[in-house]
């Protein structure tokens, strides 16, 4: 068996061990995350179920083929991942990309998600998939630990702050490749309001309390908010019955609602979330903008917001179509991305190989 095949087999074995229902390490990580109020049990469960669907050996192989990467080709390299913690296991794809590439892994874990990913990393360690791995929630612990490249998801400002810290502390050099992803929202076009669409839209907007760049922050629709808001609210309340929102907005959101009311802006106030008619992409959490418009309006929204936009979604009739510069993805996949999805349009596996080989 070739080295690359052996490597992929080892990776698939680790993932399968990790996702086994009787894996005590994962169970403990979930319990600690819930006990310490880091995430809701329902959100973690949703993420694990989505990963079970996405991380099958054939799908991981498909990712490798799509990316054009040769597994285990970066054996002498070290890649640092600075993982986000806004959603459970949000950094998992970066970790897997490093594992598949064969590079050594250095992970700055988020203090907001310190248990779930380590439960997987430890299985990789036990199976000796990589030579060296270091992971920790404290950035200082990596100072003077030189890496060949680094992966990051955050804001542009954050990215340059982190870059300077890593440079100042000799973790990276001026010419170290870095992949900095800054998209912070997704958009959806909805022209029907049938049950399946509304269920998918509710999941796409309200899962994780609206956090994460794949969550829908703006809906463009020929339907008036006022015409659908009662029905939509029923679906949202039902969603919350099964998936109580883990984080709650601050008083600031009530001020936004009050201002909208004063200005006569159409809105739906859900206490823990605000849906408002408008044209601007909300930068804050717990807000969905509902924009009246047709498909060409949607395309304009896409093109005017390329800087922060992650994905454009819609229903079956539009999947695969172009909306501005984006190809429309299924709304139903917003919170269940395939393993080969490209954050900010870049395949991480392909990027690692191109920049480090």
């Amino acid at each position: 068996m070739k080295s690359a095949d052996r490597h992929m087999n080892a990776i698939n074995t680790c993932i399968s061990q990790w996702l086994r229902p009787d894996n005590p390490q994962l169970k403990l990580a979930i319990e600690r995350s819930v006990d310490e109020d880091l995430f809701s049990f329902e959100d973690i469960k949703h993420q694990i179920l989505a990963l079970k669907q996405a991380l099958t050996p054939d799908k991981i192989d498909r990712w490798v083929v799509k990316s054009g990467c040769t597994p285990n080709s970066l054996r002498n390299k070290t890649v640092m991942c600075l993982h986000a913690g806004n959603l459970p296991l949000v950094g998992l794809q970066d970790f897997l990309a490093v594992m598949i590439s064969g590079a050594d892994y250095t992970g700055k874990l988020s203090g907001k998600d310190p248990y779930l990913l380590p439960s997987l990393i430890k299985i990789f360690q036990e199976n000796s998939v990589f030579q060296k791995s270091v992971f920790n929630t404290e950035l200082q612990s990596f100072f003077n630990y030189k890496v060949d490249a680094w992966l990051f998801s955050g804001s542009k400002n954050n990215g340059s702050v982190v870059n300077n810290i890593l440079l100042d502390n000799h973790v990276v050099s001026e010419d170290s490749p870095s992949l900095i992803r800054t998209a912070f929202f997704s958009a959806a076009f909805i022209d029907t309001f049938d049950k399946e669409t509304v269920l998918d839209l509710t999941e796409a907007v309200f899962r994780y309390g609206g956090a994460g760049c794949r969550s829908v922050a703006i809906v463009v629709s020929p339907l008036n908010l006022n015409d659908i808001k009662c029905e939509f609210t029923d679906y949202v309340e039902n969603f919350w019955l099964n998936n109580p929102q883990h984080q709650h907005p601050s008083r600031e959101l009530a001020h936004r609602f009050a201002l909208n009311k004063a200005l006569g802006t159409n809105q739906a106030w859900l206490n823990d979330f605000l849906i408002e008619e408008g044209e601007e992409v909300p930068r804050n959490k717990f807000i969905l903008t509902w924009m009246k418009g047709d498909f060409s309006t949607f395309s304009s929204v896409i093109n005017n917001n390329l800087d922060g936009l992650q994905s454009a979604y819609s229903t079956a009739a539009y999947i695969g179509e172009h909306a501005g510069n984006k190809i429309i993805e299924p709304l139903s996949a917003a919170q269940k991305p395939p393993v080969w999805w490209k954050p900010d349009g870049i395949d991480t596996l392909n990027w690692l190989q191109k920049n480090l080989l």
Partner: protein, 335 residues
């Protein structure tokens, strides 16, 4: 125009009348006459029977002005200012019901720092000049036109300052105040020679973001000091916005003070009905009582901090928290 509350307007700029007295009168007027502000309060669960201090009064976010001017019932705008911004951005509109109040707010504060008839003003405000509805241009033009010597005026970066003009300013024995947008001053220092033999004070008005190269306020102040060979005590900042009647000045430093009819507070971003402690960053809240005929209770989207003396610093735009996406990636406690 409908009748205002004449007493309040009469003593609005009078430092002998307490801020609290003026605040209560203005709040009373606003609750009765400003439908937008009253609806805002009601939607927050407050009614007429609730009383507020300047520290706790709900402040309306300045984006309210993007929907158009806010005027009390029965009032119309004599002047309308619009914020600058790209064509795709919605601009703020501020209706000024009484131009004389706007003039009074400008002159009362400016001349308290730079006495009338003792200064000549040169203004270097490229880009702003392209916006005919700029409140900054209107303010500076008003001060220039108010100079009886006739020596004040606008200057351009692409046109060297007439030496004869400078000689006349020197001969007048008055102080020269150079009003400059940050990017205009940087370009000026790159392209032109400093004025010679002048008693110079520089007021920078902000606007760094639009420049090709950003520099910190401290860097800018050092550069101005070196270039014009003036002490940093002669380098000042002005803070104002389209949605306000009044301006604030930081004299010789980065710390701003407010006129007697303005109260600035730093409000908690997650609950703007609470003030931050001195030293704690938050959103800059402004009660500008000269906004009597628009809305005086405003929450900006600027980031600021207050010191123990009640002076405040402007730290940029508020873009820190509550962001979507992965902006919590680097936990600040781990840096």
């Amino acid at each position: 125009m409908a009748e205002a509350i004449p007493d309040t307007e009469k003593y609005l700029f009078d430092a002998r009348v307490s801020f609290l007295k003026k605040f209560e009168d203005v709040y009373d007027f606003q609750y009765k006459k400003n439908t937008i502000y009253r609806t805002f309060l009601n939607a927050l669960g407050y009614s007429r029977k609730d009383s507020f201090s300047p520290e706790t009064i709900p402040l309306i976010p300045v984006r309210a002005f993007k929907s158009g001017p806010i005027l009390p019932d029965g009032y119309t705008a004599e002047l309308t200012f619009r914020s600058s911004g790209t064509t795709s951005m919605k601009k703020s509109s501020h209706g000024i019901a009484k131009a004389e109040m706007y003039e009074k707010a400008i002159s009362s504060e400016f001349y308290s720092h730079f006495p009338e008839n003792e200064v000549i003003i040169l203004a270097l405000l490229p880009k702003y000049e392209e916006n005919p509805e700029s409140s900054l241009i209107w303010m500076v033009r008003y001060l220039i036109n108010n100079d009886a010597s006739g020596l004040s005026g606008f200057i351009q970066n692409d046109n060297p300052v007439d030496q004869h003009w400078i000689e006349q300013i020197v001969l007048s024995n008055k102080k020269l105040v150079l009003f400059g947008a940050a990017f205009g001053l940087i370009d000026f220092m790159d392209q032109q020679n400093p004025f010679d033999s002048l008693s110079l004070e520089v007021i920078e008005t902000g606007g760094m973001k639009t420049h090709k190269r950003e520099m910190s306020k401290e860097e800018l102040r050092n550069r101005i000091s070196d270039y014009f060979k003036i002490p940093k005590s002669s380098i000042h900042s002005e803070y104002g916005m389209c949605e306000l009647h009044s301006q604030m000045y930081a004299i010789g430093s980065e710390w701003f003070t407010a006129p007697n009819w303005v109260k600035v507070s730093i409000r908690k971003a997650d609950n703007p009905e609470h003030e931050c402690e001195p030293g704690e960053e938050g959103k800059i809240g402004i009660i500008d009582l000269a906004n009597l005929y628009s809305c005086p209770f405003l929450l900006t989207n600027d980031r600021g901090v207050m010191n123990e003396n009640g002076n405040f610093r402007v730290l940029g735009r508020w873009d820190k928290e509550n962001m979507r996406g992965c902006n919590f990636l680097i936990d600040t406690d781990s840096l």
